[in-house]
Each structure stands twice: as C-alpha cells, then as structure tokens.
C-alpha cells in the first residue's frame, strides 16, 4: 500500500512533465510556413552578411568558450528550396 502510494507520488509529476513537454513541442511553438518568411529572408537576417563582423564575433566566441566553429548553419533563413 505504502509502495503504491509512493509510486503514485512519483508518477503524477512525471506525467505532468511529459504533458508539458509535449505541449511545448506541439502547441506553444508555432511553425513558420514557407510563405510567412518575408522577415526571415531579409538580408539583415543573414549572420554572414558582413565577413569582418562575423570573424570578430567568432573570435570573441571561441576566446570565451575555448571552441572554434560548430555554431553556424548553412544558408539563409528564407527556407527557399
């Protein structure tokens, strides 16, 4: 009896966490559709638009984090093709 109550006490928060997590992935995060990417496709959204500024930013990043590269993604944000 005591064991089953303990199990219940553990299970309820677990289920709640699972529900919250699934809510985060399906409901609270809205998908940006391809036709809604006007702002994302803007030139100013491209982090690589200024190579010098990018190099400086990378330098600061790897100086602080002791790591180089590995934080960029390819392409722009417009999602074209």
């Amino acid at each position: 009896m005591k064991n089953s109550r303990r199990l219940l006490l553990l299970a309820v928060p677990g289920v709640a966490v699972l529900l919250l997590a699934s809510g985060c992935t399906s409901a609270s995060l809205a998908r940006v559709h391809p036709w809604e990417r006007t702002a994302l496709a803007d030139y100013t959204m491209n982090p690589g638009r200024d190579p010098l500024a990018l190099a400086a930013s990378e330098h600061v990043y790897f100086s602080r984090e002791s790591a180089s590269g590995g934080r960029g993604v390819n392409g722009s944000s417009c999602g074209c093709n």
């Binding site: 036709w35 990417r37 417009c78 074209c80």
Partner: protein, 157 residues
C-alpha cells in the same frame, strides 16, 4: 492547442487532388480563364531568390507552349504591395501575375516551399507538384509534363 493541431494537420494539395478554383480564391488582379486548360500555377514571393530565377524560365515556357493552350498563373504571396509591384516591374513577366494578398489560397494549398508550382490538367486535378525551382532540371521535367498534358485529348463533358 486544438487549433494548433488543426493547423498542423491541414493537408497539402498533392498530385491527384483537385486544385482550388482560382476565380473564387479572392486573388488581386485579373485571373485568366483556366477551366478545361492545362495550367501551371506558381506560388512565388519577391523576397525569394529561386522565384526570381524561375521567372525567365516560365517566360520561355509561356512563349513555347501558350500557343498550344498552356496557361501560366504566377501567384504572389507578398503582403508588401510595393515589393510585389517592384518585382513585377523589374521582371516584366509575359504571363498573368496575381497577388494572394491575404495569403488565403496559399494557406489552403499549404505549399511546402517557396516557390512551388502545380501543374494542373484539363480536368482540374493536380498532375505534378514542383517544390522549389532547380533551374534546368525543373525546366526539363516541366517541359516533358506539359507536352504530355497538352497531347492528352480533352475528356468529353
């Protein structure tokens, strides 16, 4: 949450599905007559690079196949009217261009990428969907499909 799920599960228009009637889609501009025609419907935007590359190719398709009955309709999803107008002025397409200013049709069709073109047969059903524009590759495939569709005999009413 239910609304979000409903949005997420809204179906894309796929090959074999009937394409929504353009005349009833609330588009801005003059929609050409598409009934019982082979129609290439292209969804584009002024901010989309591949869309820009696709226009000269569609202009060549228009020149080659419009005498045989192909209708090309380019539907802009631009909400910025000035950007739309500037793009059209610069590209000067020889085929009809309209604007889905409220993005109603594009939501209904759920295009998977920008640009996406739908080749619609005389029966009003989608015969192929071209996701993105990949230059000569897309052009070659489109030409083959257009010729095949134009060669099909119209079904008797």
């Amino acid at each position: 949450m239910l609304a979000a799920c409903a949005t997420a599960t809204r179906a894309e228009v796929k090959t074999g599905d009937p394409f929504p009637e353009l005349a009833a889609a609330g588009l801005e501009g003059t929609v050409p007559v598409t009934e019982h025609q082979v129609v290439l419907v292209d969804f584009w935007a002024s901010w989309c690079g591949p869309c820009k590359a696709s226009f000269p190719a569609y202009a060549r398709l228009h020149a080659d196949f419009s005498p045989r009955g192909l209708v090309i309709v380019a539907i802009s999803v631009d909400q910025d009217e000035a950007a739309f107008a500037a793009f059209v002025k610069r590209m000067a397409p020889p085929f009809p261009v309209v604007r889905d200013k409220d993005q109603q049709l594009v939501r209904q069709v759920m295009v998977p990428a920008m640009p996406t073109s739908f080749l619609v047969g005389r029966d009003g059903r989608v015969r192929s969907v071209h996701r993105g524009f990949h230059g000569a590759e897309t052009d070659t495939v489109l030409r083959e499909e257009i010729v095949r569709l134009l060669d099909e005999k119209p079904s008797s009413p």
